[in-house]
């Protein structure tokens, strides 16, 4: 059944080794619990501790092996050593989160109920550990050694979120009257003011440190409060990039990280990641560079690695691999910031994209503009017809979605390369804001990391095609509706050749009406869930076609209109994705239920599907809708995906 492609009964599939390892008897329960411990307890369970403790077990299966106990922890734990291992992940919250306790009026009373009479500032963090306390012990010790080996990171980093998320769910359910079921059906995610505030300020600039250091503490606190950091340093310990904070601020941290990394390198061991409280650190050493991702967002190690990979590829895209290696081989202490000058914004745009949450990065896939097959064919033909001599790749991109591609038969496009290009054009904004036409030397590391290609970029003003050559588009207006033509060549001096091709292409597209079709499709946006499956309870889904390395999804609106709600949705997808891809499990179908939502992940050799619905939805209904989504995609396959493209 596990291998079946047919979406008959996804609900009953999915038996994770974790379950069997723990000998959790009830299949049903285990499916529910294993994944989404953070949200799965319902309100009753949250309150009645005795019943929930048993249930908790699976959620802490991934508990990392207890780190060497730190004095601080012991003190806080107040003589409950058995919880030390499992309580650690939530520990660091103590510092930064103490204030938020005030917002939970019921926290105190709850703590009292649970006979937690220890110091009040720790009470919130202790709720989780307390409840599952000793019962969790055996499972922790059994499971804990598995993660440390190969797969460990993924599960481990999740735990931070599981635990803290768990606490929050319970707190929330306590803080809210019971009859609020109607409100609950509206909201997909439990309230979490702490996260909301942190996320709201996540993209604020960290203030500069004043010369006299008078604002040092405030700056440091601000820096520490960030949910996500990226640090890039050379193997000699020179800072290259930091998402937040200036040099003065990060120097110490760079030093510490470098010391830790080189300690392991000295022992001929590779440090891949570690957890400090609820913060996960993932380290990636690539030749002369060390890249570090630091997150509180509960992403898995492999997800963080793919983000670091993208940053690394961005650096290669600027420098090429051989020239970067040469810089360091000449002088190991080389300051790479000089040759990278001006690309900080590209790295930051990538980092911000990861912080906002990007389905494209999560799935390592591209999204295409939905067009009828014959319409796409007409565009492909125009591309082929106007193709100029030295063209390598030609792309038409509309608001970050691929419209059409022309490429040589022997070269396909690497999604990572396209992600870098899209990031440069649509996120970083410098090319767009500059206006005019652009001629950009860049290395596409997925294609060839040793040399440069040259990319001609022209943004079309769909409303007034004739204007775009003469006038810079106003930077603010209609960012969503922009269509870019990208023509890539290995010929450094090919600008005017490709410019001619652009002119010919636009003329063709106008003549055969494709411009209008593209404009219509862009305006129409993504279909809504109910367009796809009428009457469906589903709020959102991601469908990845594994063969095409492309994905499709419905519009975020109206349920995920804000950046915060999108981030939470992505968090949910992250979790599902982590479970599906955690080795060595290889789940096929995975269901998870929480107080506020129910979600399904389903993987076959052909596709990956992730979908979410509000919690009153039944599993059967969810599974049924999933089937309908699959049917829809099959029907629309040649519209939502580019299959083949224009090949020469």
């Amino acid at each position: 059944m596990d291998g079946s492609v047919e979406p008959q009964t996804p609900v009953s599939l999915g038996n994770s080794p974790a379950n069997s390892a723990n000998g959790v008897p009830e299949q049903d329960n285990s499916i529910d619990k294993k994944d989404f411990g953070s949200h799965m307890t319902n309100e009753e369970q949250g309150r009645a501790q005795s019943t929930s403790t048993g249930e908790e077990q699976p959620s802490r299966e991934g508990t990392p092996p207890p780190l060497p106990p730190r004095p601080k922890n012991l003190q806080l734990l107040d003589g409950r050593p058995q919880t030390s291992g499992s309580s650690k992940p939530s520990r660091p919250a103590l510092q930064s989160k103490a204030t938020t306790q005030l917002s939970f009026a019921d926290t105190q009373s709850y703590s009292d109920e649970s006979k937690d009479t220890s110091s009040s500032d720790a009470s919130k963090q202790k709720i989780g550990p307390n409840r599952s306390g000793s019962e969790a012990d055996d499972s922790a010790s059994v499971k804990s050694y598995v993660p440390t080996l190969e797969v460990g990171g993924d599960t481990e980093s999740l735990l931070g979120e599981v635990l803290t998320g768990h606490d929050k769910t319970i707190l929330k359910s306590l803080g809210r009257p019971f009859d609020s079921t109607s409100g609950r059906s509206e909201r997909m995610f439990p309230d979490d003011p702490e996260f909301e505030i942190a996320f709201e300020h996540e993209f604020d600039e960290v203030e500069e440190m004043k010369a006299d250091g008078s604002n040092e503490e405030a700056v440091m606190n601000h820096w520490r409060s960030k949910l996500k950091h990226f640090l890039i340093l050379s193997s000699a310990g020179k800072p290259i990039y930091s998402r937040h904070g200036d040099d003065q601020l990060i120097t110490n941290y760079i030093g510490v990280v470098q010391t830790i990394i080189s300690f392991y390198q000295g022992a001929n061991d590779v440090l891949r990641g570690f957890t400090a409280g609820e913060v996960r650190f993932v380290v990636m050493s690539k030749g002369p560079l060390n890249l570090v991702a630091i997150t509180r967002l509960g992403e898995s190690d492999s997800q963080l690695r793919s983000q670091l990979d993208a940053l690394y590829m961005q650096i290669l895209s600027t420098l090429t691999l051989p020239s970067m290696e040469k810089m360091f081989s000449n002088r190991p202490s080389y300051d790479l910031r000089r040759p990278l000058q001006g690309t900080e914004m590209l790295l930051s745009a990538l980092a911000d994209g990861f912080t906002r949450g990007s389905p494209s990065t999560l799935l390592s896939a591209l999204e295409c503009l939905k067009l009828r097959k014959s319409h796409r064919q007409a565009i492909n033909n125009a591309l082929l017809k106007t193709r100029s001599q030295n063209l390598l790749y030609g792309l038409i991109v509309a608001s970050g979605k691929l419209v059409s591609v022309v490429r040589p038969k022997k070269h396909s496009l690497h999604p990572g390369d396209l992600h870098l290009i899209f990031n440069m054009l649509f996120e970083a904004g410098s090319v767009k804001a500059g206006g005019g036409e652009n001629w950009i030397p860049l290395c596409l590391p997925g294609f060839n990391n040793t040399g440069y290609l040259y990319m001609y970029v022209s943004f079309l003003n769909l409303e007034n095609l004739s204007e775009q050559v003469e006038e810079r588009p106003s930077s603010s207006a209609a960012a969503q509706d922009e269509v870019a033509i990208l023509l890539i060549s290995a010929n450094k001096e090919g600008f005017f050749e490709l410019r001619q091709m652009r002119d010919d292409l636009v003329e063709q597209l106008q003549k055969n009406g494709s411009i209008d079709l593209i404009r219509t499709a862009v305006k129409k946006g993504r279909p809504s869930c109910t367009d796809i499956v009428p009457g469906s309870p589903i709020r959102h889904f991601l469908y990845k076609s594994r063969g095409n390395v492309q994905f499709t999804m419905p519009s975020f609106e109206p349920f995920f209109a804000t950046a915060l709600d999108r981030r939470r949705l992505i968090n949910l997808y992250n979790t599902l994705h982590t479970h599906m891809h955690a080795r060595p499990t290889h789940l096929k179908v995975h269901h998870s239920t929480s107080t506020t939502n129910i979600s399904l992940a389903w993987i076959t050799p052909l596709f990956e599907l992730y979908c979410v619905a509000p919690s009153p939805t039944s599993r059967a209904a969810l599974a049924q809708t999933a089937n309908k989504i699959i049917q829809w995609v099959r029907r629309e396959e040649e519209r939502v995906f580019i299959i083949g493209g224009a090949v020469f």
């Binding site: 420098l319 001006g342 410098s430 005019g436 036409e437 001629w439 950009i440 450094k492 001096e493």
Partner: protein, 273 residues
Amino acid sequence: MVADSGAASGPKPSSSVKLVLLGEAAVGKSSLVMRFVNNDFQENKEPTIGAAFLTQKCNLPTRTIKFEIWDTAGQERFASLAPMYYRNAQAALVVYDITKAASLTKAQHWVAELQRQASPGIVIALVGNKSDLAASPNNSGSSSSGGSGGALSDASTAGDDGDAASSTAVGDGDDGDEDEEGEGGDARKVATKVAKAYADEEGLLFFETSAKTGLNVAEVFTAIANAIPETSLKGPRGVGGQTHLGGGRQEDAARVNLTGGRDAAGPKEGCAC
């Protein structure tokens, strides 16, 4: 905007001029172009990647000049691509930031490279940008009078600061000016006199501009348009032969002697921007 309708200027001869902007990163090259082409200004603009290509018309009394502008990225790593952009260019804007002394040094390097490697007839304008950050705008004497290509040589021969226009006096002038302008709120680090002296010595057009306020921006381009010798303007595509970025050198036009050529530059006639 400058771009008067082509029909109106129909009888006037129209010609293309390839113009390249060079200069250190973050001196405001793209902002100057954006002000000239779109009459727009963007605070904290992100750095240019590679190069941007834009066009803008400039109407002179006797002819219409269509600028084909290469706005290059100032970062060091793009320097090796610069020849591709200045080859065949009839004009160059070498930009520095008046609040950053090192940027003038970089500009001088670009001027030297252009004089060595670019078309012999190339018209070079040295532009000190961000004049809005200087405390006393009246210090930028030459820029306020810089309405045409003639302004430069007029000023230097008039001798108001012509005495300082020798390389030995540059250092002194710098100090003197810094002292004068060292009052509160003045971020100026490059004295007008110093840059002007250098420009005179090398036979460059010179302006201090502010892309932010628009001060002198149109004037720079008009001055360049006026300074382009008629002989190098051949038809709408110009001599540059825009079918390639580079291509063969243009050998016909001799290096323009701006001091001598000011009479040919025609009367002052600003762009309409």
